[in-house]
Symmetry: C2
Subunit: 217 residues, 2 copies
DNA sequence: TGCTGTGAAACCGTTCACAGCT
DNA sequence: AGCTGTGAACGGTTTCACAGCA
C-alpha cells in the first residue's frame, strides 16, 4: 500500500498550495453545513475571495475530483480532500509551557476541534505540575515527555515557552517522538533533527503589520 | 517632507522582504547587545541561517547602508532600519475579546516590548468589563471602542474573539480609526474597509503542519 | 452549453556573478 | 583584498486561454 500504486502524491505540494487547500477544506465544511450539493470553482472563488483557476490547479496536484460541465460534489470533495490531506482523523497535541499562552491554547477551540485534541500540558514549574487547565487538561512535568507522548499517542507539539527555553524544548519534543512542532516562541530555532517546525511568531506578525502601516502616525 | 524628496520608498516591498527585514532587525538587536561594531552580509547569513545576497537585495530596496570592503555598521544599520520601517517608536495596541487568549496576549511580552504596548482589552461580557488582566490591563466595554482608541492613541487592533463575531469586531475596529488588524479568529474576513488585516490562523497553522506530517500514522 | 483539467504565457522572487568602491 | 550594490539568469508560481468531456 505504500508503493507507487496510487496516482497522486501528496508531496510536491508547495507551501502556498497546502495553505490554500486547507482553506478550501474549511470553505467546503461551510458548504456541507448548508446542504449544498455541487459547487463550481467559479462559485467557490466568488464566494470566498479566491481564484477559480487556482482552485482547479491546486486540486489537480492531487487528482481529478470534478465533473465537467457540473462542478464538484461538495460532500464528496470534502471527504476525499480530508482523507488525502490526512485531516480525517483526530491527532493528539501536547503543549510545552503551561503559562498564560499555553493554557489559553490548551483550552481553545482551535486546538480541540475536528482534527485535533490537546492531550496534556508540560511545564518545569513544580507549582503547576499536577494541576489542570480550566477545561481540565492535565499539567505534567516536562521530564515525562517521552512516556507521555507515547502514552497519549501525541503527534504534534506546541512550544509556548519563553524564547530562551525554546531550543531545548524543541529538542525534547523531537526526542520524545514528536515530528511536527508549532513554535510560538519568538526565537529562530535552527533545524530540529527529526521534526518539522512551523513558527507562529507573534512579535514578528505585529511588526510586519506595523510596517505596512508606514512610519508615519 | 512627505513629497518625493527622499530616495527610497517603503512601499513596493514584497511580503517576503518585509518579513526578512523584520527578522534582520531582530538579529541586529542581538549584535548590538554584543557590542559588535560591523558585520558583513556573509557573516549575518552564516550566523542566522539566511542568504547573504538576499540580505543585500532586501536592503537595496530601501537605500544604501553598507561600506564596500567593510560591511555594515551594526548600530547605524539597526537605527536606520528601525526608523525606515517605523519600528523606532511604541505603538499602542488594543485587543478585542477578553477571553483566555485575549488576556494571555495582553499580558504577553510579545505584545509589550520595544515597539508595542497593550492599551486596553475590550469585551461585551458585563462580568468582565471593569476588571483587569493579571498585569493590570483594563477591560472596557466594546461599545467604547471609538472613544478609547482616540484616547489611547491606539493604532493596531487584535481580534481574539470567536469566529462568529470576527467580521463585526473588525468593522468596529476600523470604524474606530484602527488601520491595522491582527486577526486570531479562524474566519475568512472579507476585506475590511480602511484597514489592513493580517491573519494568524491557529487552526490553519495546525492543519498545514499536520498535512506536512502526512496522512499516515 | 458549461465547467473541468491543463499546456503555455506572464509574472515575481531568488540566486548568481561581477563591476565598482574603499 | 574585500565586500557592497546590482544587472542578468534562473526557477517557481500564478494567470490565461482553450481543448475535452458531461
Amino acid at each position: 500500500m505504500t508503493a507507487a500504486g496510487a496516482k497522486p502524491r501528496r508531496d510536491r505540494l508547495s507551501e502556498a498550495t497546502i495553505l490554500r487547500l486547507s482553506l478550501l477544506l474549511r470553505c467546503l465544511r461551510v458548504l456541507v453545513d448548508e446542504r449544498l450539493d455541487t459547487v463550481s470553482s467559479l462559485a467557490l472563488a466568488q464566494r470566498f475571495g479566491m481564484n477559480a483557476a487556482q482552485i482547479r490547479k491546486d486540486l489537480a496536484h492531487l487528482g481529478e475530483f470534478g465533473v465537467r460541465g457540473v462542478g464538484y460534489r461538495v460532500a464528496d470533495l470534502r471527504a476525499r480532500l480530508s482523507s488525502i490531506l490526512g485531516l480525517d482523523r483526530v491527532r493528539v497535541v501536547v503543549i510545552v509551557g503551561a503559562g498564560n499562552l499555553g493554557q489559553a491554547l490548551a483550552d481553545s477551540k482551535n486546538f480541540n476541534g475536528e482534527s485535533f485534541r490537546v492531550g496534556a500540558l508540560f511545564d518545569v514549574d513544580g507549582r503547576k505540575v499536577g494541576g489542570r487547565s480550566r477545561t481540565g487538561i492535565p499539567i505534567r512535568h516536562a521530564g515525562t515527555l517521552p512516556e507521555s507522548v507515547a502514552e497519549l499517542g501525541a503527534e504534534i507539539g506546541v512550544l509556548a515557552v519563553p524564547a530562551e527555553g525554546a531550543e531545548e524544548a524543541a529538542r525534547a519534543l523531537a526526542g520524545a517522538g514528536i515530528r511536527g512542532i508549532l513554535n510560538f516562541a519568538p526565537a529562530n530555532l535552527g533545524p530540529v533533527p527529526g521534526a518539522t517546525v512551523r513558527n507562529v511568531d507573534l512579535t514578528l506578525s505585529l511588526e510586519t503589520l506595523a510596517i505596512h502601516l508606514g512610519a508615519g502616525g
